[in-house]
């Protein structure tokens, strides 16, 4: 903020330093001069700096993002709007997106995470949808890092307080601990909303002479240059950037949500856009550009929280809970009545024009007059140099030490930071409000009922950072596949994904190579699994003093269950049921949780994903669920088969008698290997023949794992592991860590 204030005083004669402080390179400045045909005013420099920032312009990633598959019969709206939209049939649609709030959350975890949740919910209700579910994907540093506990506590509390107050259930997510996130945590938040397919709102301001309306909170000096901050790496002084973190007010956002939905039920809105990153600037530029019109703003009419705000500050403020709308002629009174009812600010601050320019007036002075294409389309576009990562060798199971006892290793894994229960986190989120949560956190995917129907939306967030760090291409494939698998495990048909691409500094060729590898893996997996990308977000420069995070392409997927009566979950339900493993593999232990916990190392190639096997196994499982042939289903991922079985046992509070595995691979590889495209299912024994036959059709391997019953996990030749002991190990780690460390 002090930088901004100083900048305003500097007024005429923009120095090289000032341009550099705005994150604009000398080449970019030359281009700016060409676009504008003259020197910019300070206000204009500020506008260019945010619109051309990595965060707003995707200048390093755009050429690659174009390669992602984004279409399909299920897609109503692909990338380019506030959120993506998929068809749910019966005239209903799901609107969803995931977004990062990494940099602010590290600097100020509570407000950073809270405003991340607020921002993504606004993206969804801007399109006319009522948010019905939130998810989040969190990456923290090592548990023993001195900051980790403080960051976990702040982020979880921030997410909870915002979503809880909004009355939108947070139904799941994932959390990793890894030292490579010590100085750059990741906070990725996803929101899913429901809308009638013929009532979807977009941002295009089509039409000239239409009123431009500002609603929501007043504008303050918070968050100025947040988008620029998110487009640079951290150094030791980054924590001084605290004033650029926005402050959230979920109560105002709840009012804004209800007011917007109330107005959207009227025939009043031409276009609507939330004021997120780069606030008033980005929202007005986008609306005008998409509508093919110009826009005039009179900043004297902007509701301000603080006195004497300059044009520069108002345009760059990232104050939260604000919206910009273009109304139909004469619709101002009804809009004003609704926003006054909800006690929110309402102001007509400008109009659309036929000039094709972004014109801003303040106190009788034209502070900015910029041709819109210069901001929207002339933004720099980089084909950054990149180098492909060398692939790592596959590690044979024999080269990873066997444990003294398989069940002892299981207890250790389940009580480790990586696999321990996340109950301490999800119990701080209201996951039941709206009374449609039919599958609560802790399973494969969260499921909410489509209100008033029998349909269900299965939602999951996934990526395995240690795989991506070892091989960005295979890791990204795996992220998409695991998300598809988690959704499938509920019985849902996976529809589409949103993504949050978290990477380091793209100006380094090895980081850019990670990004390219991840995109290529996603392209392949999304194509084969018919799981297109409908929205997303890129967060680069997640690095500190030259050390980057592992490449983390977080995938958020949505699937549809036709009738929730047919939904599956992981809990074992009947003593005497058989447990089967569907899907095969060599017992891959490279980059496994077993290797990480038991040997304190991560080495070798991650497990490869055979997408054809993924599809045939998933389609088999979904068919079995629909046919009512399985009583419990769980995908096999972190920790392998035995961890999947243990999670099913804990969820159902029932034991399992395991059979000795076939001798064709070492026992620890069989139980803890992380081969992909696999599920564990529980079935009534009389269904076994039918399932073997169905599996044979798709050439899916089947192995009998054991029988459900008792209160221990038993394996021939080993001392049984009581469910109560396993539960204690699994549940205790996180609360104990948060209490004492």
């Amino acid at each position: 903020m002090s930088g901004a204030a100083k900048a305003v005083r500097a007024a005429e004669g923009l120095s090289e330093e000032l341009v550099a402080e705005h994150g604009i390179s000398p080449d970019e400045y030359a281009q700016l001069l060409k676009e504008l045909g003259r020197e910019p005013t300070l206000t204009e420099l500020g506008v260019f700096s945010v619109m051309w920032s990595e965060h707003c312009s995707y200048k390093s990633s755009r050429v690659w993002l174009k390669k992602l598959p984004t279409s399909g019969p299920q897609v109503i709206q692909g990338p380019g709007e506030n959120a993506g939209v998929v068809d749910l049939g019966d005239g209903q649609a799901a609107v969803f997106k995931m977004e990062s709030h990494n940099h602010p959350s590290y600097i100020e975890p509570y407000q950073g995470a809270a405003t991340g949740v607020g921002g993504i919910m606004r993206d969804v209700f801007t399109m006319g949808a009522r948010p019905v579910a939130n998810m989040n994907a969190l990456r923290f540093g090592a548990p023993d890092h001195p900051k980790t506990r403080h960051l976990v506590a702040g982020v979880v509390s921030g997410i909870g307080d915002y979503g809880n107050c909004m009355g939108v259930p947070t139904i799941g997510g994932e959390t990793n601990f890894d030292p490579r996130y010590n100085d750059n945590i990741l906070v990725n938040a996803m929101t899913v909303g429901l809308v009638d397919a013929d009532r979807i709102f977009t941002s295009a301001a089509k039409g000239v002479g239409l009123p431009v309306v500002y609603v929501g909170s007043k504008t303050g000096r918070d968050g100025i240059h947040g988008a620029t901050m998110a487009s640079a790496e951290f150094d030791d002084a980054s924590e001084e950037k605290r004033p650029t973190v926005q402050v959230g007010d979920p109560f105002t956002e709840k009012l804004l949500l209800e007011a917007c939905l109330e107005l959207m039920a009227e025939d009043a809105i031409v276009g609507i856009q939330d004021m997120g990153a780069a606030g008033l600037t980005s929202s007005s530029v986008e609306m005008a550009d998409k509508g093919g019109v110009g826009i005039d703003l009179d900043l004297d009419r902007v509701p301000c929280r603080e006195e004497a705000m300059t044009a520069y500050e108002m345009l760059l403020s990232e104050s939260q809970e604000r919206m910009l709308m273009v109304l139909k002629p004469g619709a101002e009174p009804i809009a004003e009545r609704i926003f006054k009812k909800w006690e929110l600010d309402f102001a007509v601050i400008g109009e659309t024009t036929d000039t094709g320019h972004f014109v801003v007036r303040h106190k009788g002075v034209v502070e900015a007059d910029i041709p819109l294409p210069a901001l929207a389309h002339a933004a720099p576009l980089y084909e950054r140099p990149w180098v492909k990562r060398e692939t790592l060798p596959v590690i044979a199971p024999e080269d990873v030490k066997a444990p003294k006892s398989i069940l002892g290793a299981l207890e250790r894994l389940m009580g480790s930071a990586h696999l321990a229960s996340r109950r301490w986190i999800f119990e701080q989120y209201d996951h039941m409000v709206m009374a449609d949560t039919v599958q609560r956190p802790g399973g494969d995917a969260g499921v909410v009922r489509v209100h008033g129907t029998q349909k269900g939306l299965a939602i999951s967030c996934d990526v395995t950072p240690r795989y991506c760090a070892a091989d960005p291409y295979e890791g990204a494939k795996q992220a998409v596949a695991e998300c598809w698998r988690n959704i499938t495990a509920t019985g849902a048909q996976p529809l589409a994904i949103t993504d949050c691409m978290n990477f380091g500094n793209p100006e380094r060729p090895e980081i850019m190579g990670e990004f390219v590898g991840a995109i290529e893996g996603m392209v392949e997996a999304c194509t084969v699994l018919d799981f297109p990308v409908v929205s997303g977000n890129v967060s680069l420069y997640n690095e500190t003093n030259g050390v980057a995070i592992p490449p983390t392409p977080a995938i958020g997927g949505v699937g549809l269950i036709a009738d929730i009566a047919d939904m599956a979950d992981p809990a074992l339900k009947n003593d005497g049921d058989m447990l089967l493993l569907l899907g095969g593999g060599p017992g891959h232990l490279g980059q496994s949780i077993y290797m990480q916990v038991m040997e304190d190392r991560l080495a070798g190639a991650p497990p490869p994903v055979d997408l054809a096997a993924e599809k045939s196994t998933g389609d088999l499982v979904r068919g079995l669920i629909k046919a009512g042939a399985v009583s419990a289903v769980h995908d096999v991922s972190d920790g392998g088969v035995l961890v999947a079985v243990a999670e099913m046992a804990l969820a159902g509070d029932r034991g399992v008698m395991l059979e000795t595995p076939p001798p064709d691979m070492p026992a620890h590889a069989c139980w803890f290997g992380e081969d992909q495209a696999r599920y564990v299912v529980a079935i009534a024994p009389e269904n076994a023949d039918a399932i073997h036959k169905a599996a044979a059709v798709g050439e899916v391997p089947v192995r009998v794992l054991g029988t459900v019953g008792g209160d221990v996990i038993a394996l021939p030749g080993e001392r049984p592991l009581p469910i109560a002991t396993l539960r204690a190990a699994h549940e205790d780690w996180l609360p104990r860590f948060m209490a004492h460390g």
Binding site: W342, Y429, V433
Partner: protein
């Protein structure tokens, strides 16, 4: 039976309450905006959960001074049954219809999970369908749910048999381990002197459907329909 659900700015369980009431009554309740000073004739007034006024100042404190609350207080004093759930309970204490206050949870954290409750009375309009001493499972979802009153008030509440529910174990034992938020004497809900106003932190409206993994809340709405129709 006619019911009204009061909607404050920031209420967010109003729809859930309306769904539960409609399922039990066969007709939708009237949703009444907090700024209205008129309240339709109602056999039941429900104050829903949520974050009225964002919990600013104190939970429920601002909502207690909404225009509609004057009429709610008048009706309550005249004998109209009033049910306050979660934030609604907080509003009832702030409005002076129930004694005590809901303080920050002992853990200082928001807590959302199913808890077990012991039904302490089944001779009221709200609980007639339950067995006395029955253990039921309702969810809680709150940050300010720790019931507090001074010892004299607590003694009086118990002496007048005005405790509605207590947090308990599966066996019905009322223990510290079963108390999710540090409430005095494990109190989860209380009545007014006449048993016509009930405030409770747990959410009966969230477990009325097997698809939501429980139906223990259904009997409360069934009780109301049975005794108020």
């Amino acid at each position: 039976m006619k019911a009204s659900v009061i909607v404050f700015p920031g209420s967010n369980c109003d729809r859930d309450a309306a769904v539960a009431l409609e399922a039990a009554m066969g007709q939708a309740p009237t949703m009444v905006w907090h700024g209205d000073s008129e309240l339709p004739k109602s056999d039941l007034i429900l104050l829903p959960g949520g974050f009225s006024y964002g919990d600013y100042l104190r939970s429920g404190a601002m909502a207690a001074h909404s225009p509609v609350m004057r009429e709610v207080v008048r009706r309550a004093k005249a004998g109209t049954p009033v049910l306050g759930i979660c934030n609604g309970f907080q509003v009832l204490t702030e409005a002076g219809l129930l004694p005590g206050v809901l303080m920050r949870n002992a853990t200082l954290r928001f807590i959302c999970k199913d808890v077990l409750l012991k039904v302490e009375r089944n001779d009221t309009r709200f609980t007639s369908a339950y067995e006395l001493g029955e253990v039921v499972r309702f969810p809680v979802a709150h940050k300010d749910g720790s019931y507090f009153a001074d010892e004299d008030t607590l003694d009086r509440l118990e002496g007048e048999n005005r405790v509605a529910f207590r947090y308990c174990e599966a066996s019905g034992a009322v223990s510290e381990a079963a108390n999710p938020n540090g409430s005095r004497r494990n109190i989860a809900g209380i009545y007014n002197e006449t048993g016509t106003v009930l405030g409770m932190m747990p959410h009966p409206e969230r477990l009325i459907d097997p698809a939501l993994s429980g139906t223990d809340g259904k009997k409360m709405f069934a009780s109301l329909v049975e005794t108020l129709h």
